[in-house]
């Protein structure tokens, strides 16, 4: 009897391990399909208020490896030259007027609206999250992700994946309390060239911001080799020169 229990427990443990490994492998694949290891891109952020008023921002960004991303605002004029940098859990904001980088957190928002810094300075999901559970659905998979580290904006994510292209079509982001913070919808899959086929629009809404919507529109996503030194505080006022 004891042998049977041990075998059953081992079997359960093994199957859980296989699922976890599979989930994390799928997550890595999703990360690579969303963007290459090292690349540049332009993004337009659009915040829409309940009365229809909207505000737009345009950013140029470069990303290297799993956890380094740097951006600079190109418009509007009031934000031009503002730079953001993320290295793993560390985030900084450079404001030309202030003249020096200051530390910011993933929960803040440099643009206002529903997107926070974590959404705007998104690094690879697999560098921040472990897959705890995987389910198969009609469209593909649902991954239940838990944060590896303490300094993340969302404690858990539920990622809905289309298995045709291994791209997400929806992510639900939850706080540690289990409260739904926001939904991210990945739309308009587009071929950016050089093998990069990914959603060109991310739409978000949040029960915390009823009536508000925000969009990120992607353009000119291109592979690019980048020096690691670009991702440093001393380089933050020079990011626009990379264009």
């Amino acid at each position: 009897m004891r042998k049977i229990i041990v075998i059953v427990l081992l079997g359960l443990f093994y199957s859980t391990l296989v699922f976890a490994l599979d989930g994390n492998e799928i997550l890595k694949k999703v990360d690579r399909n969303l963007n290459p290891e090292s690349f540049e891109m332009y993004r337009k952020l659009i915040n829409i208020e309940p009365d229809g008023t909207k505000k737009e921002f345009v950013m140029f960004s470069v990303k290297k490896g799993k956890e380094k991303i740097a951006s600079v605002f190109l418009s509007p004029a009031s934000e031009k030259g503002r730079g953001t940098l993320r290295i793993g859990e560390n985030m900084w904001l450079y404001i030309p007027n202030v003249g020096k980088p200051i530390r910011i957190t993933s929960l803040q928002s440099v643009t206002g609206g529903v997107f926070n810094n974590s959404d705007i300075m998104r690094v690879d999901y697999n560098s921040e999250y472990n897959c705890e559970k995987i389910e198969t659905t009609d469209k593909g998979y649902t991954l239940y992700l838990r944060a590896k580290l303490k300094n993340v904006a969302y404690e858990t994510l539920t990622m809905f994946i289309d298995s045709k292209r291994f791209l997400p079509y929806k992510i639900e982001a939850y706080a540690a309390s289990g409260m739904l913070i926001k939904n991210l919808y990945f739309k308009e899959v587009k071929d950016f060239g050089d093998g990069i086929i990914r959603p060109s629009i991310i739409e978000t809404d949040s029960p915390l911001y009823k009536g508000y919507k925000s969009y990120i529109v992607f353009a000119n996503v291109k592979k690019r080799e980048l020096a690691s030194e670009i991702f440093s505080l001393n380089y933050m006022d020079k990011i626009e020169g990379l264009r």
Partner: protein, 443 residues
């Protein structure tokens, strides 16, 4: 004249900034007009760029005719309880990049009117430098440039090569000094992620940086930045033949996603301080002094940001020393009233640049609380700032409302109240309160 100033401010805002059409452009009642097309001019890189912002400001000061600094400045020759000032400030920022060479300039033109000076104008190049970037690891800058070192928000004891911040507006642009500096950056994997070295050379001559010292010399120094254990650390120093030598360090770290700690420390060697007593006698002290700043930044789940800092100003005056200075002004005013002699008042004015500067004493607490988007009003930020002088227990309280109703247009309403007993720093300032309304348009 007051009415003219106010009308002028509003007129400039409406006629030149014309926010209403912009407001209507930014409004739609559905998502059908969403411009998701990315063929926009931002994608086309030009070698040059020019940006500007124009700001009009109306400042109303409520004067305290019993305050000692009022008496020092005006004696008994001013009867108004309120003064008005209208500012029109234009900042133009331009840059040109060709290959590894970048030219950058930021120019400020200020035109203002107040009761004391009538119409005046100022113009200056806040920054104007050339930058040579032969590689991603190296940049060399020469010209007039701001070097803001240190992690403090309101105070920067380790900003050895920068002008002091304005405590009323720590985020305001500063004017740089002429210097030659370099940045060498090395990134790596592991515990130490980044190391950067910044040497700097600053000449002082009759024509360059003459505000710093009266003798020709070359001040030099450097900063070493390290990102290790998810902590920013800087070590810095400055060396001078005729002025003080300094060494310092700073740090900044996020302990949690919403809680940051930071600090600056600096030792100033052979700092020479002139102390004037109530009779106008001046004594000189020379010692190595220690400046310290410790601070936190906390973001609550309700999007309220708290910035709290303690500042130990080793170069500041003690409670007794500052009281002696204020008593000298009091004695000087009595002397003027009784004898028409300005001897003592003139003596006090000789050292006013030191004693009347912001944070002139030893120990300060700074707290700023700001709330993002309250009452579901996007781009609206109310804030309140407290500055507390721990030595004489005087204080400044500044509520502020900032609103960006449309893209590129910001309205800022700030009120300031000064609290303190007689012969305290904030209790003896020229005004007891002020209201500042400013409107800024970026283009």
């Amino acid at each position: 004249m007051r009415l003219v100033c106010l009308v002028f401010t509003i007129w400039v805002t409406i006629v030149f900034f014309n926010p209403l059409p912009l407001f209507s452009q930014d409004t739609d009642n559905g998502l059908t007009d969403l411009n998701l097309d990315f063929k926009i001019e931002e994608l086309e890189k030009k070698p040059y760029s020019i940006n500007a912002d124009i700001e009009t400001t109306e400042t109303i000061r409520f004067l305290d005719q019993d305050a000692l600094l009022f008496k020092q400045k005006y004696l008994n020759k001013k009867n108004e309880d309120v003064t008005w000032q209208t500012d029109l400030d234009l900042i133009v920022e331009a840059q040109y990049q060709q290959g590894s060479i970048k030219l950058y300039g930021r120019f400020n033109g200020l035109f203002y009117y107040n009761d004391d000076e009538s119409f005046e104008s100022q113009r200056k190049a806040e920054e104007a430098y050339v930058s040579f970037q032969p590689s991603f690891s190296l940049a060399i800058d020469a010209g007039k440039k701001v070097h803001k070192w240190g992690k403090g928000y309101a105070f920067s004891p380790s900003a050895f090569f920068a002008r002091p911040k304005d405590l009323d507006d720590p985020d305001a642009t500063l004017e740089g000094y002429y210097s030659v500096s370099a940045d060498y950056i090395k990134s790596m994997e592991g515990i130490v992620r980044t190391v950067a070295v910044t040497p700097i050379f600053m000449p002082v001559t009759r024509d360059l940086n003459h505000e710093i010292g009266s003798k020709d010399e070359l001040i030099w120094g450097g900063k070493v930045y390290v990102l290790a254990y998810d902590t920013d650390v800087d070590l810095m120093f400055s060396i001078s033949d005729n002025l003080t030598n300094r060494v310092g360090f700073d740090f900044s770290k996020n302990l949690t996603p919403s809680f940051e700690v930071h600090g600056d420390a600096a030792w100033v060697k052979d700092y020479r301080q002139y102390i004037i007593d109530a009779a106008g006698n001046v004594s000189e002290q020379e010692d190595t002094v220690f400046n310290l700043l410790l601070g936190i930044r906390y973001l609550s789940s309700q999007d309220t940001t708290y910035i709290f800092e303690y500042y130990r100003n080793g170069q500041g005056y003690t409670d007794w020393e500052y009281e002696q200075y204020l008593t000298l002004i009091e004695n000087g005013f009595d002397q003027y009233i009784n004898t028409s002699s300005q001897t003592l008042i003139s003596k006090s004015k000789t050292y006013a640049a030191h004693y009347n500067q912001q944070a002139a004493m030893k120990n300060y607490l700074y707290l700023k609380i700001s709330q993002k988007d309250p009452f579901d009003i996007l781009y609206f930020v109310p804030a309140i700032t407290f500055i507390y002088n721990m030595d004489d227990k005087s204080a400044s309280i500044t509520p502020q409302l900032t609103y960006t109703p449309v893209t590129n247009f910001t309205i800022d309403l700030k009120t300031g109240f000064l609290l303190g007993e007689s012969k305290t720093e904030y209790g003896e300032k020229i005004n007891t309160a002020k209201v500042v309304l400013s409107m800024r348009y970026y283009f």
